[in-house]
Symmetry: C3
Subunit: 415 residues, 3 copies
Amino acid sequence: MRTLPLAFALCLSSHVAFAQEPFHETLTSTAESVNDEIWSADSRQVTPNCEHDWSITKETLRGGRQEGVDIITVDNGVMQIVLCPTRGMGILKVTSGDLQLKWDSPVKEVVNPQFVNLASRGGLGWLEGFNEFLCRCGLENNGHPGTDKFINNVGDEAEMELTLHGKIANIPASKVEVVVDRKPPFALRVKGQVYESFLFGPKLQLQTELVVLPGENTFQLNDTITNKGAQEQEFQLLYHANFGSPLLAAGAEVLVPTHNVTPFNDHAAAGMKNWSKYEGPTAGFVEQVYLLKPKADHNGHTMALLVNRATAQAASIGWSIKQLPYLTVWKNTGAAADGYVTGIEPGTNYPNNRSVEREAGRVPKLAPGESREMTLTFGLHSGGNAVEAAINQITVLQMSGQGIDSPNSTTTPRQ
Amino acid sequence: MRTLPLAFALCLSSHVAFAQEPFHETLTSTAESVNDEIWSADSRQVTPNCEHDWSITKETLRGGRQEGVDIITVDNGVMQIVLCPTRGMGILKVTSGDLQLKWDSPVKEVVNPQFVNLASRGGLGWLEGFNEFLCRCGLENNGHPGTDKFINNVGDEAEMELTLHGKIANIPASKVEVVVDRKPPFALRVKGQVYESFLFGPKLQLQTELVVLPGENTFQLNDTITNKGAQEQEFQLLYHANFGSPLLAAGAEVLVPTHNVTPFNDHAAAGMKNWSKYEGPTAGFVEQVYLLKPKADHNGHTMALLVNRATAQAASIGWSIKQLPYLTVWKNTGAAADGYVTGIEPGTNYPNNRSVEREAGRVPKLAPGESREMTLTFGLHSGGNAVEAAINQITVLQMSGQGIDSPNSTTTPRQ
Amino acid sequence: MRTLPLAFALCLSSHVAFAQEPFHETLTSTAESVNDEIWSADSRQVTPNCEHDWSITKETLRGGRQEGVDIITVDNGVMQIVLCPTRGMGILKVTSGDLQLKWDSPVKEVVNPQFVNLASRGGLGWLEGFNEFLCRCGLENNGHPGTDKFINNVGDEAEMELTLHGKIANIPASKVEVVVDRKPPFALRVKGQVYESFLFGPKLQLQTELVVLPGENTFQLNDTITNKGAQEQEFQLLYHANFGSPLLAAGAEVLVPTHNVTPFNDHAAAGMKNWSKYEGPTAGFVEQVYLLKPKADHNGHTMALLVNRATAQAASIGWSIKQLPYLTVWKNTGAAADGYVTGIEPGTNYPNNRSVEREAGRVPKLAPGESREMTLTFGLHSGGNAVEAAINQITVLQMSGQGIDSPNSTTTPRQ
């Protein structure tokens, strides 16, 4: 009488083995000249045993300056994450019930980089497409525009005008893949490759992976930057995570375990006392930028938290200070119509012009073939208990955390 | 027995009420990710009672640098107007029998702004797509390229290189709608919205409406510029209306009721005596630009007229000097192959660099939320009688018209 | 009994007459708003009597920065030539068995010019799309970036920043046609038109024709540059032919019959002794550029040859020094990952900034309506005998060839 069940079990096992190969689909591949305009997959097709109804959908936007822009929406059953392969795999928006990671930029469309001239307005052209929740800044450079040196085609040191926050957010991904595990916890993955690579220039590759589990309120970015060239190469990477209404409002606060906080300029120095607290939308507010050296646990892990006034909603970013030692907090609480937003921005550097950062020892280099990994975890915390738990994590880090010394840091303790 | 007729009347009335709702179609909407490639409507479908066979057609151009460019042709039965949503809702060409509003630019394609770098050639890149009959210049700035100040992201006064005639003609419309009245006079409307709006920059919205009646030889532009931001905002707007062969030819003349005519530079001063008269195509002709302060009637209404040599064809632009106090006449009667053209250009300013115009008090500002309306009427006059009537209008304005003083005007009377 | 054959002959003749009209297809025409995404023709349809199975195929690339890029593959039965109308009719790659004309650029995609800002990185933005085997440099200018004068819209001499190698390689063709002879030798032709033409700028037209015979290992480019404007116009044209692995390898050599070889700079001077010989890929190698004045036969015909180490494979370029008097050899034998490549570049000039070339008398002018023709023949030589024959041609030219004096040449004999 055991035969039948065994046969059944074998059959099932074989089936499961097959089924356990992850689901894989290439949505974009320049090598194969593929770029589907519409595509979707969902839990019913791919993971019928998963208790959460997830879906991954690709569409191509139409009209105005968003003509031809691809977006991918990952819905894990409780949270919707909208990615934009055309804009360097940035994240446009994350929604979990009434908690949203987004801001209301004066730029309403998802702008195709075809329409962006980064050099416009004295190197500030990047702003003409800027409306993402999460926008990578780099790879060859990020930070303020202005003159910096580089090596030109004849091997001479020459000068170029850097543009604000570099190119990566305005380079379409060359390859985009969806990978879904067929076994618990049924991880959903969107992978992308973006290149800043050309003759007499950098040969940098960004491989990025968004991972989210069905039913969870967190997601992870696993990024790898690789120097595909045969010579040492500088790079810069900053994660420009932007939060606006309604999470950001008067009384909201950013919590970071930190050794010190340095105002970016005199104007920021004047607001130093309340650097971590936010006012409501204020017409004419001029940005205040603070440069932090976060503390971390013994593994190098740290976290920043944006908490709303009622301590009822919060958003967190967790990362390793071994990978991203510096944190910039950008307070830009202007009027709603002008862009009411704060940026919480872990990076390899602060957003000065690269020439300043190089001088300060904050422009890392990659040896030929060398890779650097960056892992960031984003959490959406709803309800008093969840927010308190997150605040406690910050408190523990602040009390016991350590910094990793950066010998040439120009930051000075202010608190 | 009254029941039935009443029911019928109600039914009819309800039907008529429904039918009198204007016909409405959204051709492009970035908010809804809509952009139809092909679309058309005509009198048979929409206004079967209209005596004129009108049609409105949208198509998407293909090939070279015009790949993906949308154009809309409004045919009101006697006149064809070709609009280009992709190029800021400019008007490419107007045809009424053998009278055409157009010029033969060395640019033969309708260039997608994706291929235009406005900063090219010392800020003259705008010329690489310039071939419209009517092209708006603005909104943040227009006029000559060159250095001007602006307020950058950290609130400091910084310098930027302005580019010729600003960006608006190279920004695709975010929303395009067709509205047609179902009752006489069956007005045909094409509406568009174009944005120059981004963080640390202007938040300007252009809403434009082209209105034309079936069977008429005139059309109107109703434009509204709105400062959607929360801070005071400069703007500039100039309507670059361009006329070429065959309307423009040796012996053609521009008639404007005006207080004074100021040559733009020494070269224009040398041609001052014949500023209003045109020569035939002349290889090597260097542009001559004249700055006018038009007179207007007591409502502020004025008009400019381009009359052909035989006084048999003319084109007029009517507008209010309360809205657009300045008029620029651009004579560029080079060889046909090089671009034989004249511009008649009502504006908020003259086409100097914005820094010059600001100094002269000719850069208006919009308060937060404030709008400014501009209404222009274009007339195509065919036949001696029609042309004489238009000339008479100019004569009346010249004899009795008044100017509205602009205290800081730098123009000096020359005639 | 002769009647029937006669009738048959007549019939055949009539059929042949019809059949002898060349096959013609317009793939792209901006004038007609045509741009087919997919198209193909082959010998079975068009030339059933041709012994070689040829085909011509058009496709549109997808994904990343190559979205919407058109490529045309001409397969003549023994050789595949891939053209790119979207990138100024450049040639991406030529393959004949295991002999390939191509190089491995750090740019992996075929980049749509929509994504290229030529002014980027101090005027070196051209490099961000550069990966063609054959790329035209011009038309208004080519060579190094930097300041040069030009005449602006008001007729004044002004300054502009030239960008590396000009615009032509980043301008999509406005017209693309395929023409195939229906009679032997069944010539296959792809024709393209590219314009650098706008108000207050050049009015230059490039008409290019690729001609290849079925079964042959050579192909020809017949280019005509025309000044469509009414005023004299400078132009520059350089054929940037780029060769990489495996043809280029340690021990490869470039053979050119030449009067003299001038190093471009001190760094090139240091490598002068071995200017014609190639090393293997060398990380950190800085480009060495040599300026040549080729000798030619009494018709002005000359030739350059790249021979591999084993003298078993070679590629040749033949042209007239009456059309292209100057030759630049660009040695850039860096690491494979950085771009291991040599350029053999016949031109109207050397690749200095145009201001330098003008000073040296190497910037030709076209009178209004004037055309200049350029004919280049590319040969793929496989096997010792074929290579020896090509080398012999060079030897004959070197021994007996003449130069055409260029009075203002700045080159100095070095050998």
